[in-house]
Subunit: 329 residues, 2 copies
């Protein structure tokens, strides 16, 4: 019987248990994946804690991203066959289809091939990060070469994907990080400027770098009291994407700054992209091509074995990582 990660109570990392469960068969329009690698995401931490957009039904599976080989296909599936090397696109219920484990059933529309030049470890570090960043910056934000993009929590996998996508377009990247430890790393991966927020005033630094104009696109998963700072750092008519709730403080809407500057503050998740067949197809094509050319390249922080899933989650929550944490099965 395959090992599957589930939790029976909401709570910290140690609610995660590895259990042996009977092998399931894919239903109509579903496929079964023999999982080789699992990409970890903040969404799973929030889901495990009962803080996510979706509520867990206990005991619950979890997990959005895995790479592996298709080992069974349900009825209605025509474009995927047993033996295909694919990875999952987070276009399903995290609880119902959770991919943490040796075997996972997912909807057939939620898997995609990835270029041969990527390893299976990199394969679990593609769709969440690049679709999230692509959807906001390119599909909605219409990012252009002359934009200045401010990327907060820039060392996360989505932050790094946003840096790569922005640089692929040729626009200017200002990245933020709390401590000085990750500054050089962010410069090395392509940020034009890095603001260390423990030491520098965010808005002041952005204004200095942009000669007083401010950032035209802002991509932020933190919210809370950070939003006011971002509004101060924003250019006239800037768009601020809020795509997470890392701070967990109440978020004050910067009313007067938004009136003065005509700011657009937009809640965003990648579900806007993955639930729209046309947008998803366009986004997948864009990302696949650039993964193949090397313009986009997943950055892996480290790997953990499946048995160490609790430690892997604890490490994810420690904010030490620079890039994706991947679990190997």
């Amino acid at each position: 019987m395959p090992k599957i990660v589930r939790f029976h109570n909401i709570g910290g990392a140690n609610v995660l248990r590895i259990e042996e469960l009977p092998l399931s068969e894919p239903g109509k329009d579903e496929i079964r994946l023999k999982v080789e690698t699992i990409g970890l995401n903040r969404a799973e931490v929030m889901f495990r804690e009962g803080q996510y957009l979706e509520e867990p039904i206990l005991p619950s599976r979890l997990g959005y991203e895995a790479a592996g080989t298709v080992d069974a296909v349900g009825s209605g599936i025509s474009d995927i066959k047993i033996g295909d090397r694919v990875s999952t696109i987070p276009a399903f219920s995290i609880g119902r289809y959770g991919v943490y484990g040796e075997s996972a059933i997912v909807p057939g529309c939620a898997v995609a091939r990835y270029p041969d030049n990527l390893s299976t470890i990199e394969g679990a570090a593609i769709w969440m990060q690049y679709l999230t960043a692509f959807g906001a910056l390119i599909e909605i934000g219409q990012l252009k070469k002359d934009n200045t993009v401010l990327i907060t929590a820039a060392s996360s996998s989505v932050g790094l994907a946003a840096i790569q996508i922005t640089k692929a377009v040729g626009a200017l990247v200002i990245a933020t990080t709390r401590g000085v430890e990750k500054k050089q790393f962010l410069l090395d991966v392509g940020a034009d400027h890095v603001i260390v927020t423990d030491e520098e005033d965010l808005a002041e630094s952005v204004m200095t770098v942009t000669s007083g104009r401010g950032a035209s696109l802002i991509f932020d998963p933190i919210a809370g009291h950070v939003l006011e700072k971002l509004a101060n750092a924003a250019a006239l008519r800037a768009t601020i994407f809020e795509y997470g709730a890392l701070s967990r403080e109440p978020t004050i809407f910067p009313l007067f700054l938004s009136l003065k500057k005509g700011l657009m503050i937009r809640g965003y998740t990648l579900f806007e992209i993955v639930k729209d067949a046309e947008k998803l197809a366009r986004s997948k094509r864009y990302i696949y091509d650039r993964l193949q050319s090397g313009a986009l390249k997943p950055i892996i922080d480290r790997t953990f074995p499946l048995e160490a899933i609790v430690s892997a989650h604890q490490y994810l929550e420690s904010n030490q990582q620079k890039g994706k944490i991947v679990v190997t099965v």
Copy 2:
């Protein structure tokens, strides 16, 4: 010497004084208006209280909207001549150019003719309300026939302008008002549905009216705790325009709702339109044509003589009015 309204201290309506000041001459690119009517706006109340986007330099004039006859033109003005019947567009400093008084100097680019079928009283009730509503709903919001527009504080002059513009496009209007007194009035001026917020749950009522879809465009000058309700009443991917700060409470950003629904919450003032020559020309043409055809028609609540300017401001703040308050000079 012309009578001019100024205030020497920030504060309540009774800081307003009528003073006789020497007649000024228009400078380069300016014109002088013999004022016949003055349209009152919330902006002037907030400015007088030191709560506006612009800080008063005391003693300060005030006022954005007047109608009258041009009685002097400065150098550089070619398209306006003495005797022209015009009204002002709020495209200037409210303190430096304030139009409350018998005579006002304003930039030549900030006056416009209005159709002959409108009275001089209606002439002071055009540009602030229709440019504000047009800019948000049509120019930025791209209002279409199949949209549902939720308009809060709907009995204000801008709210009524938004109702008229939405109905001219053929979209559905849901208007809100606090008490039941103004409900019939709002239905009479074109609202398809009116929600009395003292008696009904805003989001629930909007969902009932829209068969659970919610409002696709929301136009709100209140903010504060109302924003959360609006987010609940919003459709997927709705745009919420915040164009004022009537509530004066802190405004919480509805983070989880905005993530779930992909909401866009946008600060907006008409300055986005009036400071952009191309947008202003397009907007003026649209409004002029529809004023001439009768599709748009300013709704005047009542008039006050200039001597009663303090009472006029007190009445504005009482929220009893249904439409524009105009001062006759």
